[in-house]
Symmetry: D2
Subunit: 361 residues, 4 copies
Amino acid sequence: MPGNSFGQAFRFTTWGESHGPAIGCVIDGVPPRIPLSEADIQPFLDRRRPGQSRYTTQRQESDEVRIVSGVFEGETTGTPLALVIENQDQRSKDYGDIKDKFRPGHADYTYWQKYGIRDYRGGGRSSARETAMRVAAGAVARRVLAHLLGEEQVAIRGALVQMGADSVDRLRWDWAEVDRNAFFGPDAAMAEIWAARLDEARKNGSSLGAVVEVVAQGLPAGLGEPVYDKLDADLAKAMMSINAVKGVEIGEGFAAAALNGEENADELRMEDDEVAFLSNKAGGVLGGLSTGQDLVVRFAVKPTSSILSPRRTVDRFGQETEIVTKGRHDPCVGIRAVPVGEAMMALVLADHLLRHRGQIG
Amino acid sequence: MPGNSFGQAFRFTTWGESHGPAIGCVIDGVPPRIPLSEADIQPFLDRRRPGQSRYTTQRQESDEVRIVSGVFEGETTGTPLALVIENQDQRSKDYGDIKDKFRPGHADYTYWQKYGIRDYRGGGRSSARETAMRVAAGAVARRVLAHLLGEEQVAIRGALVQMGADSVDRLRWDWAEVDRNAFFGPDAAMAEIWAARLDEARKNGSSLGAVVEVVAQGLPAGLGEPVYDKLDADLAKAMMSINAVKGVEIGEGFAAAALNGEENADELRMEDDEVAFLSNKAGGVLGGLSTGQDLVVRFAVKPTSSILSPRRTVDRFGQETEIVTKGRHDPCVGIRAVPVGEAMMALVLADHLLRHRGQIG
Amino acid sequence: MPGNSFGQAFRFTTWGESHGPAIGCVIDGVPPRIPLSEADIQPFLDRRRPGQSRYTTQRQESDEVRIVSGVFEGETTGTPLALVIENQDQRSKDYGDIKDKFRPGHADYTYWQKYGIRDYRGGGRSSARETAMRVAAGAVARRVLAHLLGEEQVAIRGALVQMGADSVDRLRWDWAEVDRNAFFGPDAAMAEIWAARLDEARKNGSSLGAVVEVVAQGLPAGLGEPVYDKLDADLAKAMMSINAVKGVEIGEGFAAAALNGEENADELRMEDDEVAFLSNKAGGVLGGLSTGQDLVVRFAVKPTSSILSPRRTVDRFGQETEIVTKGRHDPCVGIRAVPVGEAMMALVLADHLLRHRGQIG
Amino acid sequence: MPGNSFGQAFRFTTWGESHGPAIGCVIDGVPPRIPLSEADIQPFLDRRRPGQSRYTTQRQESDEVRIVSGVFEGETTGTPLALVIENQDQRSKDYGDIKDKFRPGHADYTYWQKYGIRDYRGGGRSSARETAMRVAAGAVARRVLAHLLGEEQVAIRGALVQMGADSVDRLRWDWAEVDRNAFFGPDAAMAEIWAARLDEARKNGSSLGAVVEVVAQGLPAGLGEPVYDKLDADLAKAMMSINAVKGVEIGEGFAAAALNGEENADELRMEDDEVAFLSNKAGGVLGGLSTGQDLVVRFAVKPTSSILSPRRTVDRFGQETEIVTKGRHDPCVGIRAVPVGEAMMALVLADHLLRHRGQIG
């Protein structure tokens, strides 16, 4: 009933608040005898880590992960993996202003309504700081996929495809470019436009929304558990559970509504004795099962709600007031959502791979 | 691990194939002493029932539901509710053509890859016939919501808001219109345009996609279980699990990506001593919890893959071939997805209401 | 949260009341392409069926099972299996006497306290009639075990080892004898004594308790999921969930408390290049995992609470009264618990085999 | 699928190995606004802590628990509670002898068979060290029960009732005595006999088994979720999952098999306008639901397998050998199982109380 676990066969549970002593997770169901160390996880945390460009929060966290159980002599043992990251930059500051006020667009009001108590320091449990553990768990999921499907087989990559109203040009898509700019953008020209737009938004005390695309290549066909735990259904849940996400689509997604049947259904032919689809409108999922084509998921991230422009709100005593959210905030939370989206993709796939193996072998 | 159940506290499990003797479901976790009979369920099945206009499949099913356990002397007992619908129109026909061929855009290929066996009669388990049980279970969920929150409190309504490239005009939105046309459309003028477009598509042996919107009014604030079973995450999963759905969004959804922080975050004021939001860009969810505002979900339905135009495909022996999908198919499956989307909304809400009550009281 | 499902990877959910129109179950997670028909299930139901000797209830039920989904052309499809048994002998009688009174030793009082409503006809959901579906599901579990481990590999057998104060002589144990007497007793001489004792109890309007032993042979080592879903923990739950069971033990069980360390720990040697235990005090489980030795479980069944001797009780209006439970009741419910215990053993093993395969391969 | 979590509504997950850097647990589903600090947990850990008499292992652990998330300003927030205990006495020793040998009666062989790898230091994950986290989580469960049912309402107490062949005299039962002797024994005279017997066993390099009884008083009627998650079924699982437990019984338990129906069924009368049972053979459970009487559970603990007497075994290379298990081991693990059994009782009750509240209110 409680909601802090994800997955069934590869199941992780996260804990910790933004300004508590540490955050962590437990991963249960990891297959045994997979080589694993902190070095397999840290690079993914480093990608997500804040403070690496002027476009993300200046909070300074080394986000150093420690494996405290489940690995023995360099290999997983099949028992629970526990990962911990100490919080370092718990800046001792005066929360007076947001302690009692509900920040518009934030979880302040709803947590208060649900629990009758909230840890107001940096958002507590509702903070995007929690996503660091998703990235850490996702790195373990990647090792599981590599171990079971072949080291070079599966690639899971994400990119920012839209910021504000500006989308990438898919003709200029270059995966290598993704790690060269501050936005995880696959289109170098667009990255420059985004830089200008985001600088302007920051200057205005505003923020921008974004769309992220995550692609998994090299999957076997048949992953997914109809009719409720379909692969796309679990991906939709996974992505929608990321902070600030407001929409998820697979393949053509919402654009499929405007297509007709001939345009949308991917035809099949044989190629080198293998079944081959002539297009991938489906985004790699049919009937809730992977087709073996690229699995393509996109999700929309709303603009950061923590902005410097004063906004009308109320406090928990029922008084009307105004709020200005100072502090260190990403002007576009969609950027750092890229490694988080990749991690959720890896986590869903590892879970479904083990579930599939349980029933089918 | 298997995937034919949905929900945790209000948990339903469906079974049955398109052309088997019956379909059914078990609902476990229904609170006791709620008045319930078939008359509470049948009207919702009747709304979804095919054969009611020339725009849906001509398959003739009375879809008469029977409650076979869990109700005693007109009230729920708290023990499992079992619902059964006998399949009537299992037209004895020659499936020769699709028996061995993979229909493009269908689950044929992926089921074959996963299970190595498939019930090819009408799609078997992958058929949208399964959604009848979602609608039946959803009707029970509505009774639970009414019983716990007040008979007149919660309203869950859906409408078709786009067919092909044509969207409704929200200024002409009229809920009463929804039940007057063949499309569950809230805009009478648009319904006429849709009729023309869909007649044309049918004539051409083609099909159209659509977008459905479902709205729940009258919810308490605080429903949802962070950080993975957030209310919007479970709704995304619920809607994406419906046949042919390719995208889900909440509130502004994908459009939020193009807004800035000031435009997107809903400000708060006091109204009659109650907290009131000045807008509802969030669609009724913040931090994964209901805000108490209208809960607004939209999902995209791809155009029917079963079309009369010949399409290239392969068969299970690896031979290239063509296929024409005859038979009785909806030219726009998005239409009948409206009552299904409403049902999934009711099911998610009933589940979260009971989960919330368990932890919070 | 609700409790009418069992298992995780091989998951079954039962529904139905003693005097409703039918009882049934859904089994989700069955591996595909396993040959299966009603003929694989019916013999196990026949063993449990009442009315076969004067020592069981005279209720006449043919208990004919029907598979209504999940099998196509004689093989499982991997989709949910639905099984249904119509109730036949819903004798229309006057329940006036027990309608309002709480039968001592029965669930009447507790169901009333929990749900505030109860189906008093034959115990409703709390009736042992529900165990028929356990036996049916267990028969499917046996097919899964045979299919995955080898047709001749695994044997699951149960026997009555004690009735009242009289226990079998293990030196006279003969599995072939179990199906020859009315008690599933492995000791022919003891069966005669039991017959006399039970005739006497019946004559006195009384009833007797019993102990059942279930043994699984031919298992691989390593089944079980520490540290909470240990194999013995899940077996304990499975057996304790059977109606009227009050105790469960593995191997030496309670007798192990009186042994010392040297007596209890099974030593190991090599035999034909295989690890062999020199004894089986552990009953086939160490650290919650199967050892590969015989898995031995015993459970105690209390004497039937429905007896002809008048007993003091109260009714739901708070009035003190007496009750005589007429009707058709087993004088020793432990007898028919033998096939039920075997079924629960098979169900736990099938579930753990699939869970193990998911994580380990 | 993996097995390191317990409970559904009040759900805890443990991690950590005997000789890793720390052990810990995450508890998800704790109701908000319950006052909680380490001081509520530490006393229960202190009761279980080794090294307090010559009858338990001399391993020195302060077992100091830290709450690292889920509590804010002294109250639970409703978000996951994380508890951590650092391991202190990870004596750096030579494990050469047991590194490759399978200790009889231990999980060494089965973990090796299952996972193909094992952390041999002190048993790794299979060590009873894990039970410290059960006790910590159980202390939190006690706070939940006190908060929801009334501070003075529920009492959960355990006692050792048998060691070796020697059982307590129930006429001399004194709960106050339990904390006065080294055995958690309720019978002072028997405690002296046990002391002599256990000294002798230790001198002989042997060990003794035991039986533990746990009683919960003050429960409401109606807790439990038929028909698989019955209260007694979940208790059986909970207790059987404790290291070295081989049997579980409720109320009369195995002795009920030798009673007849008149003796076993507890009659009902009215007392001060309340329903009152005239006996408690049922041990507080009927039909899988609590009756409101004392809930009485007993479990058998096998004698410690780690003994100084040399035993025959094999190693992982298939060589026959002998083993002497030196090191610091409890000569009767049943003693320290008393607080663990109490904790599991509290955990099952907290879970069922929240589950009940979810469905029934």
